[in-house]
């Protein structure tokens, strides 16, 4: 987001997010920088993905005027797609787990998206399954499908990763949240080109029992764009650790991040502690605004208050 520019539309303001040093949250010999993806137009990193997926589908001819967009999403991708859809004249249907936070649902409705609910206890897997089913039954839908769309990691290769490589002359560790795998695959690949020894580390949510109610392991899901062999570390973060990270960022730096941002900051600080010197970059995917209605802010038992929802 270049300062003092006149942008033709919000879509021209996606990306070019700032990096800020976390010298209070993670003091020590290792410098830790956070890339503030909440600075994107709808407040999350998914603006990059939505813009890239729609542009790619238009360029390939797959997406023509009159087709309807459909996507499984617990929020951020849907809100980003809703902005792109609005500005480009498409309608959008989002398949959303029933337990997504109220802000997400309200935002999607305000942006004009139609919402289809999937069972909350099935988490994101349930939303993916239902969306795939709907798309198969109705060919007027075009589903960008961030989990399998190469434009997703490419947006992070050409954007997120390239921006980090241009801003820093050294990166020893990259930390990002593991969801679709887009950020880790794309930005990780780009950073390896500039810094061959960079450690690409995933912060992964430890899901609550209530959202693991899959019937069998065969109902599990690994996003096609995710190649775990390209990750150097893959670290589980509990909901309580994520919220502690989120509160730490706010207390120490004034950064109001979302749940995954807290998890990623937690892992960044942990990995910085394993080094004697160097640079750790963490990608904070969104801000805390869309989580204000959640129960965890004042809960005595943070873990229990969060176990029924998949947070990222």
């Amino acid at each position: 987001m270049a300062a003092n520019t006149l942008a033709p539309s919000l879509l021209d303001l996606v990306g070019d997010t700032p990096l800020v040093e976390l010298s209070r949250f993670a003091p020590g010999p290792v410098r830790v920088y956070a890339k503030l993806e909440a600075e994107n137009p709808t407040g999350s990193i998914k603006d990059r993905v939505a813009k890239a997926m729609i542009a790619a589908a238009e360029a390939s001819g797959e997406l023509e005027p009159g087709r309807r967009l459909l996507e499984p999403t617990s929020g951020n991708t849907g809100i980003s797609l809703a902005l792109v859809a609005k500005l480009k004249g498409y309608s959008l249907t989002c398949v959303l787990p029933a337990n997504a936070t109220a802000e997400r649902r309200r935002l999607l409705e305000l942006f004009g998206a139609e919402i289809v609910e999937s069972p909350g206890e099935e988490g994101s897997n349930g939303a993916v399954r239902l969306a795939l089913d709907l798309a198969e039954r109705d060919p007027s839908y075009y589903m960008p499908f961030q989990y399998a769309n190469e434009a997703n990691p490419r947006a992070h290769y050409e954007g997120t990763g390239a921006e980090i490589a241009a801003a820093l002359d050294r990166v020893d560790v990259l930390v990002a949240g593991l969801g679709t795998g887009g950020t880790l695959m794309g930005a990780g690949a780009r950073l390896r080109e500039s810094f061959p020894d960079v450690v690409v580390a995933a912060a992964e949510p430890l899901p609550g029992e209530a959202v693991m109610g899959l019937r069998s392991l065969e109902d599990g899901y690994v996003p096609p764009i995710l190649d775990v062999s390209k990750l150097d570390r893959k670290i589980l973060v509990s909901n309580a650790e994520s919220v502690a990270g989120l509160r730490g960022l706010l207390d120490a730096e004034g950064i109001f991040g979302g749940v995954s941002a807290g998890a990623v900051a937690h892992v960044a600080r942990k990995l910085a502690g394993e080094l004697d010197e160097g640079v750790v970059v963490c990608v904070l995917a969104d801000g805390g605004w869309k989580y204000l209605s959640a129960d965890f802010w004042e809960a005595d038992d943070v873990e229990r208050s969060m176990e029924r929802t998949v947070w990222w």
Partner: protein, 89 residues
């Protein structure tokens, strides 16, 4: 003795237990030990001699696929089994 946390998805295979204890130096040995007692678990955990694709195994909170796989040493840490789940909001 290594504690192994069992996700809801796999509890039918282990008589409803939430946590089991297994012997062994490596993840492979610990999982083989508990699979020996609960044979139904073995078919769920392993495929072609390796880990089944939709099972994630963590030692000390790190995915063994980014460590030494089934040969990862447990070293007194606990083991967590999880189903592979879609994330990304």
């Amino acid at each position: 003795m290594t504690r192994v946390r069992i996700p809801p998805t796999l509890r039918n295979e282990v008589g409803g237990e939430r946590e089991l204890v297994g012997d062994g130096e490596t993840v492979r040995e610990v999982l083989a030990d508990i699979s020996g007692r609960y044979p139904a678990l073995e078919a769920q955990l392993f495929a072609d001699g390796g880990l089944a694709p939709f099972v994630n195994v963590y030692v000390g909170g790190e995915d063994v696929r980014t460590l030494d796989g089934l040969e990862t040493r447990v070293n007194g840490s606990s083991v967590i089994l999880l189903p592979a789940m879609a994330g990304g909001c």
